[in-house]
């Protein structure tokens, strides 16, 4: 019975977990092994068969883009950079934002004041300016793109979390923990954090999608990656002026993002449910 209290309970094997995890694993694996899946290369340009509609030619099952590249291959390979940017930037922003939000909300007073004014300032800075300055000073690269996204998004988490902490910090079970003498950081990590995950998870999954899309606007500002390297955001942006004539150029990468976000959301919901025992019985 040692395990009885250590692991709250064995995780439920719900539909959400199965579908979500499967989706993400498939997307991830195919992105990683895109070059094995498409031995001809994912960026082979063929100007003579540009804008082939989907299902028309066997070599381009999902059609081809304005440069005659295979949409399917690019969508599959596009996950690499997109997921890298989308996921790492969100993880970074969440870590930073949640920490600061927790601290500001828990300690209130001057800490809160300083941090929240900082947040105000950061929120008021327009993203493009931040981006352009960032490039001007640090130069454009993948790492810098990720850092930029983290820098520009942590504030959202900080405010969100702080708001909830304000509501939770005077609740009786937090008082109870204090009465026991639990150290502040443990109260924060063990009691506050699990009680405010829901909205954070929602915002996280939103921002993963958001950042995948943002990557393409960063290209516009000179911060993105080489346009020949496929990314979902880049493909969507490329397809923008072809929406009326060649919908497939942007719809398939859009679908890829959707499936990813679906997977992440399902996992997020599942995680939320794991963390929230109320409304369920563990019998």
């Amino acid at each position: 019975m040692a395990e009885s209290m250590k692991k709250k309970r064995s995780f439920d094997l719900s539909m959400e977990l199965i579908v979500g995890a499967t989706l993400l694993i498939v997307i991830l694996l195919s992105a990683l092994f895109a070059h094995q899946l498409f031995p001809d290369g994912v960026d082979k340009i063929d100007l003579l068969s540009r804008l082939t509609p989907p299902f028309a030619k066997p070599e381009h099952p999902l059609g081809s883009d304005p440069l005659g590249r295979d949409v399917l291959a690019r969508v599959v390979a596009g996950g690499r950079i997109s997921l890298l940017i989308g996921v790492t930037s969100v993880i970074g922003a969440v870590t930073l934002g949640v920490t600061i939000g927790l601290i500001a909300g828990f300690y209130r007073g001057i800490t809160d004041m300083l941090m929240m004014r900082f947040v105000d300032i950061q929120l008021a800075l327009p993203f493009i300016l931040l981006a352009i300055t960032f490039i001007a000073i640090l130069g454009g690269s993948l790492i810098n793109t990720i850092i930029l996204l983290i820098v520009s998004q942590w504030v959202q988490y900080a405010r969100l979390v702080r708001g909830q902490v304000l509501a939770l910090r005077d609740r009786e079970f937090i008082l109870a923990a204090r009465a026991i003498g639990v150290k502040d950081w443990r109260i924060i990590v063990q009691h506050l954090l699990p009680n405010l995950t829901g909205p954070v998870i929602v915002l996280m999954t939103l921002n993963v999608a958001n950042n995948i899309l943002l990557e393409s606007s960063l290209t516009f500002l000179g911060m993105g990656v080489d346009p020949t390297i496929p990314t979902w955001g880049g493909m969507l942006a490329e397809g923008r002026s072809y929406l009326q004539t060649a919908w497939w150029v942007s719809v398939f990468p859009g679908l890829a993002i959707m499936l990813t976000v679906l997977g992440l959301n399902l996992l997020g919901d599942w995680m939320r449910d794991q963390l929230d025992p109320t409304g369920k019985t563990s019998l």
């Binding site: 340009i45 100007l47 440069l67 001007a136 516009f220 500002l221 020949t228 923008r240 002026s241």
Partner: protein
């Protein structure tokens, strides 16, 4: 800004709001499109880009090219009723070259003018500091548009910015910054009086939006139609695509100073590796012409005999091998971000380079950073984007700025021979001899392979079929007084 098309009202999209309608404040093409219908210059270019009289009826070049005498058109009035005369011309140029002009960018183009002298009410002499072969063309340019002296003096500069008055076919009605500018026909116009009563310019920065407005029948003309949207307009029964050869040329310049591209053979190989005609046919839907030098066929100094380096990947490979370039060598191409068509072209170029064993890496930069820092400071990769408006339609204005040592757009090259040629043609008043020399320069540059000339883009317009008499202008400065609306 009414929603329905009032009878006789033309709506035209303009990509952005120049903010001021004063001719000396800007270089934006957007201004040209609008300003050409409000203002006139002494000279004028027609839709074939040929120069002919505007507010000046004739001129002669005197004193070895340092004095030009203009005969002015009589009986012309500004929209406010103020007469046009020699005084207005002098006022215009005194203003441009004086304190007011000093604050704006246009003056730089007219520094060869030393002073304007009134001979009589309808005759003026331009005194030049040195002969300027392009000056007559430049007099058709924005900065030289003739402005009303009394109006400006009375109302002040700021008022003039937002309430322009000229001698052109349309006169000012109202202006809402970032939204639209409304004009009405000028019944007293000295040329063909406009056939529509109202003209509205709407500022629409997003071309897909402009096309949607065109499709919805709320715009009559959209300029600079993107290639990617050509078929949308073509497929619409109500709309037409109209295009004409334009002065704008696109290419990739080489870093001739460092790296593998310091080697002329390598540069040639790179040029030969790219099948430019296929790019034009497929990616540009044929709406472009192949070029051999950095000028369009409209340009003075254009040599139809000069042929671009042929597409020959085998030869290219050989040259590269001979130059000791290892297969898989990386080659960076710097471009301006946010130009979708060129972006596609460059990716295609990259793919062609791949076939000869070079690995192209494309690096986009924000516009301003690219133009202010990367190119002038010589921080580019082996290749970098060069697009050139060429609005003076004179190769000098391109070649001197692109190839002469120390010029802003020439961060790498120092070629004494080329410098000498460029300097030599400048003061030449003998048109034929100068043209010959310009052709030689073009040939020399092509032989040195200082750049990979890609294409000259046509000026492409999307037009509602209900318009009659629309003639596309190569330089966006469409004069709309000839256009009427079919009932």
């Amino acid at each position: 800004t009414s929603q329905s098309m009032a009878e006789g009202k033309l709506s035209v999209s303009v990509a952005l709001d120049p903010g001021s309608w004063d001719p000396i404040d800007t270089f934006l093409v957007a201004w040209g499109a609008v300003g050409s219908n409000i203002f006139d210059g002494l000279t004028e270019r027609d839709t074939n880009a040929k120069l002919h009289p505007g507010l000046a009826t004739s001129w002669e070049v005197l004193d070895e090219g340092v004095r030009i005498r203009f005969k002015l058109r009589e009986g012309v009035k500004f929209h406010n009723g103020e007469p046009f005369n020699a005084e207005a011309v002098k006022f215009t140029f005194d203003r441009l070259l004086g304190e007011i002009g000093a604050k704006g960018p246009q003056r730089a183009n007219y520094t060869s003018v030393e002073s304007v002298e009134i001979i009589d009410d309808y005759t003026v002499d331009f005194h030049l500091t040195q002969p300027d072969p392009v000056l007559l063309t430049k007099l058709a340019g924005y900065g030289a548009m003739i402005v009303p002296p009394k109006y400006i003096t009375e109302k002040g500069e700021d008022y003039f910015n937002t309430h322009p008055v000229g001698t052109g076919p349309f006169s000012f009605v109202s202006y809402e910054p970032k939204v639209d500018l409304e004009l009405k026909a000028n019944p007293d116009y000295w040329g063909d009086v406009a056939k529509v009563s109202e003209l509205e310019y709407r500022f629409i920065s997003e071309l897909t939006t402009a096309v949607a407005e065109l499709q919805a029948g709320r715009l009559d003309i959209v300029e600079d139609l993107p290639i990617s949207m050509l078929s949308v307009v073509k497929d619409d029964a109500k709309l037409d695509v109209v295009s004409t050869a334009g002065p704008t040329v696109y290419g990739l310049r080489f870093n001739t100073r460092d790296g593998i591209t310091a080697n002329k053979d390598v540069r040639k190989a790179i040029v030969m590796a790219v099948d430019r005609s296929t790019i034009i046919k497929s990616l540009l839907a044929g709406e472009a012409e192949e070029i051999a030098s950095f000028q369009s066929s409209l340009s003075f100094g254009y040599d139809p005999e000069l042929k671009p380096l042929p597409y020959n990947p085998e030869e290219a490979k050989k040259l590269l091998k001979a130059a000791g370039v290892a297969p898989g060598t990386e080659i960076q191409i710097d471009i301006r971000a946010g130009k979708p068509t060129f972006n596609e072209v460059v990716q295609a170029v990259g793919a062609y380079l791949q076939t000869v064993g070079l690995k192209a890496v494309i690096k986009p930069y924000e516009n301003s950073v690219f133009l202010n820092d990367i190119v002038p400071q010589g921080k580019t990769g082996a290749l970098f984007q060069q697009s050139w408006g060429g609005w003076t339609l004179d190769y000098d204005n391109t070649a001197y700025l692109l190839y002469h040592t120390g010029q802003k757009w020439n961060p790498y090259g120092t070629d004494a021979k080329l410098d000498a040629m460029l300097e030599e043609q400048r003061p030449m008043t003998d048109v034929a001899k100068r043209e010959e020399l310009l052709k030689n320069i073009a040939a020399y540059v092509a032989d040195e392979a200082l750049e990979m000339p890609l294409y000259g883009l046509k000026a492409i317009y999307g037009v509602n079929k209900r318009l009659e008499g629309f003639v596309p202008a190569p330089d966006n400065r469409v004069k709309l007084n000839t256009v009427s609306i079919k009932q």
